[in-house]
């Protein structure tokens, strides 16, 4: 209180009320939107999950936890969960490793005395970002052609020309999942190269130079200087990619035979939710899957935040 007068009783209350009104005024709209478009669909999904609603009737029947019981014995759904889990581990790992490698080369991996990127790094930076600009559906159709099993396929064409057996990139159940993973990584790397480049650009040049003077090679520069100083960015990237791995849908749906096939070899949770809701019209069952997916996502977020707590390095 600048004027130094003693506080009158009630004044604090009024001020508090004004402040509360002020804050509420600003928050009401976003909170309402959040309630209507985020919380209420979640709540509805929970309630639909306990019905046998088939999408068209006005009066779904309450069935309790029967959908969840059936879910436990649904082999296809658990295969989908397994694929998501595998993606959860491999997608961030591969993407971050490749992106870090490229970003390091582009920013600090150059030859010579100074700290600079490899030759032509400005050009590569743009090229790496290309996949990010393409819509997922376009990427999916593009790679269908790349992976075509006959002579018109970009990969199989040369194989066939050499007299080798073509690889069923999308038609062999043992290979299809890895093809999907490759495309996911291909699409994601560019963004993280740019992200890490920005992170590296904010690392003071003197640190690299000091390390160079002390005799550090490229590997040491990367492991001892770049990575520790980039750790926070890497963490963010890891969480983003983890969520992306749980969210994979459009690519699988558009690119693979039988939407997640062949023979369920590439299916993911979101694809099963979609299939059960919009193809089998089992909205209750699909909502139950959605609820399970929700808990997986929450668990992942909690776990990720717990595991990635680390001291911040000031510079």
């Amino acid at each position: 209180m600048a004027d130094g007068r003693p506080r009158r009783p009630g004044r604090a209350g009024r001020e508090g009320f004004v402040r509360a009104r002020f804050i509420t005024g600003f928050l009401a709209a976003p909170v309402l939107l959040y309630l209507v478009y985020v919380i209420s669909p979640y709540a509805q999904a929970f309630s639909i999950a306990m019905t046998d609603w088939r999408g068209v009737s006005a009066a779904p029947r309450f069935v309790g936890l029967a959908n969840f019981g059936r879910l436990l014995g649904d082999g296809v759904f658990w295969r989908a969960v397994g694929h998501n889990a595998l993606l959860l581990v491999l997608l961030p790992l591969l993407t971050l490793a490749i992106a870090l490698f490229f970003a390091f080369l582009l920013n600090a991996g150059g030859q010579g005395g100074g700290v600079a990127g490899v030759w032509g790094s400005g050009f590569y930076r743009v090229v790496f970002f290309f996949p990010q600009v393409l819509a997922v559906a376009i990427v999916a159709v593009l790679f269908q052609q790349v992976f075509r099993p006959d002579g018109s396929g970009m990969l199989n064409g040369p194989l066939i020309a050499l007299g080798l057996e073509p690889v069923g990139f999308l038609s062999d159940p043992g290979v299809a999942f890895w093809s999907i993973l490759a495309v996911l990584v291909w699409q994601a790397v560019g963004f993280y190269v740019v992200l890490f480049s920005a992170g590296m650009a904010s690392i003071p040049r003197e640190m690299f130079e000091a390390a160079r003077i002390d005799g550090a090679g490229r590997v040491q520069l990367f492991a001892r200087v770049t990575l520790p100083l980039l750790w926070e960015t890497v963490q963010v990237g890891w969480i983003y990619l983890g969520i992306a791995a749980l969210d994979v849908f459009a690519l699988v749906w558009v690119m693979t035979a039988e939407h997640g096939g062949p023979d369920h070899s590439t299916t993911v949770m979101a694809a099963e939710v979609y299939r059960n809701a919009f193809q089998y019209f089992k909205f209750g069952y699909a909502s139950a899957m959605g609820v399970v997916l929700f808990f997986f996502t929450v668990a992942f977020a909690v776990l990720a935040l717990r595991l990635s707590r680390r001291e911040r390095i000031e510079f």
Partner: protein
């Protein structure tokens, strides 16, 4: 800030809590959940004056909506043929025409919201599930349409102008409620030009068929056989038709009725074995990774001699077929002398489903629209425009048909009463998906016939015991 009465976090937390605690399906149930059925029940019955020109008594002043799946047939047939025909009979009834490639995405919210369109051409890969629609009473009972006088001749009922199988196939729980308009004939398709040039003959027995495949393979002219590898329906359809030829139409009935062990019956496994062998020896390379367009185009380029398909093929491929290609089809060869059904037996069934929404504003107009579609004029011009037969008897007579359709029509005539079909694809889509997935693996040699039958039987049993899925029998 110590005396701050409302921290930001506190506010958010309580707001979120309030959101979570809202009774489910309560105040905010406007988005995804079904709305209460109050609006639909209160609709006044929409009956007009019943006259000779208006036997279904539609109100002559009320509009209605026609939703057409804009797929292989396009929507021109509705706009240019059926709707003008309807307008001729009822000039004052306004028709709202909607065309979409995504039927379910467009219409499902409208059904759940109680405001469905009257006439729905429920087709394509995003069609709405008929089992679900039937289960929820969304399908208008069309039996009155069957007993109404036909558009062309008041002395003949609609029922007597169409294929009986269309009535059976359109019935859910014994109530005729879905109109299957187009009539599809399945068979093995080939190029007359390629066959004549190489002196290949249409095979009548399975031995002839395999030796023809061997001959084609040796000739190096083309691969013997292919199918739409990415959509194994094309090949399981053929397997099931062969099974019906071997064991009789009852084989398919028991599959449809989800009977115990139906998939392990001998005719089914025999047919599956025959095609698995064919797949191992004579498939075009890369088949399992190609879709229907890619394999059909390969046939147009004379890279492969034969493929199984339905009679829509010629129309679908019209842009990539060489002028002298000479599309033709032959029925599945006889398996052996103990076959239950004779040579010429075909898989043919009405398809391209439409229904009238029972809870729409003006369902009778939707039925009247169907009556117009089933006129000789409406059906015949449809056949010419989209090169597809219809369920209307004799509608194709006197119309100019393309060579492929001509051969399909001729095969259908030869088959006579020996026509088979199965229905589980429409009744239980998840079973269809499993059969497709397993059959793809069977053809690629990754599943043995026994495993194939076990897997599908397990799924069939699963569907049977799933109480949330409505069961049908025939």
């Amino acid at each position: 800030m110590a005396d701050h009465p409302l921290s930001r976090r506190g506010l958010l937390r309580s707001a979120a809590l309030a959101g979570l605690l809202l009774p489910a399906g309560g105040a905010l149930s406007a988005c995804a959940s079904p709305s209460g059925g109050g609006t639909t029940a209160s609709r006044a019955p929409t009956l007009g004056a019943r006259t000779a020109a208006n036997p279904l008594a539609i109100p002559e002043d009320r509009p209605f909506e026609v939703v057409i799946f804009d797929g292989g047939f396009g929507d021109a047939y509705a706009r240019d043929i059926h709707e003008p025909l309807f307008k001729k009979g009822h000039p004052k009834v306004a028709i709202k025409h909607t065309a979409t490639k995504e039927i379910a995405k467009t219409l499902q919210p409208r059904f759940a919201g109680g405001d469905p369109p009257e006439f729905v051409n429920n087709s394509g890969s995003n069609a709405m599930d008929f089992g679900a629609l039937a289960q929820d009473g969304q399908l208008q009972d069309l039996r009155e349409l069957l007993d109404a006088p036909s558009w062309d001749d008041p002395g003949v009922k609609v029922r007597d102008t169409i294929l009986p199988s269309a009535i059976e196939l359109g019935s859910y729980d014994g109530v005729f409620s879905v109109l299957n308009y187009a009539n599809t004939v399945w068979g093995i398709w080939y190029s007359k030009k390629l066959f004549t040039a190489n002196d290949w003959e249409v095979p009548k027995t399975w031995d002839d068929f395999t030796s023809l495949c061997e001959k084609i393979k040796k000739s190096g002219e083309a691969a013997p056989f292919t199918y739409a590898g990415k959509h194994p329906f094309y090949i399981y359809e053929t397997i099931l038709t062969l099974a019906a030829k071997i064991g009789g139409a009852g084989v398919l009935t028991s599959l449809d009725n989800l009977e115990d062990g139906a998939w392990k019956a001998e005719p089914v496994t025999k047919a599956a074995t025959a095609f698995a062998d064919l797949g191992a020896k004579y498939l075009m390379r890369g088949t399992e990774g190609l879709d229907h367009i890619q394999t059909q185009t390969a046939q147009n380029k004379y890279q492969v001699a034969m493929l199984p398909c339905g009679s829509w093929l010629e129309n679908e491929q019209k842009d990539s077929t060489p002028a002298d290609f000479g599309y033709a089809m032959f029925p599945l060869p006889s398996f052996d002398t103990s076959d239950a059904l004779p040579y010429g037996t075909l898989h043919s069934r009405p398809g391209e489903e439409s229904f009238v929404a029972a809870r729409s504003a003006n369902p009778r107009a939707g039925m009247e629209y169907m009556r117009a579609m089933l006129s000789k004029d409406g059906a015949g011009r449809f056949t010419e425009l989209v090169s597809t037969l219809t369920i209307v008897n004799g509608a194709a007579e006197g119309r100019t048909l393309k060579p492929g359709l001509q051969s399909a029509a001729a095969a259908l005539k030869t088959a006579g009463e020996h026509v088979t079909y199965f229905r589980f694809r429409q009744w239980y889509q998840e079973l269809h998906d499993e059969v497709a997935a397993a059959t793809g693996q069977l053809m690629a040699g990754r599943l043995k016939v026994g495993e194939w039958a076990d897997r599908i039987q397990r799924k069939s049993d699963e569907v049977k015991s799933d109480t949330s899925v409505k069961k049908f029998t025939r």
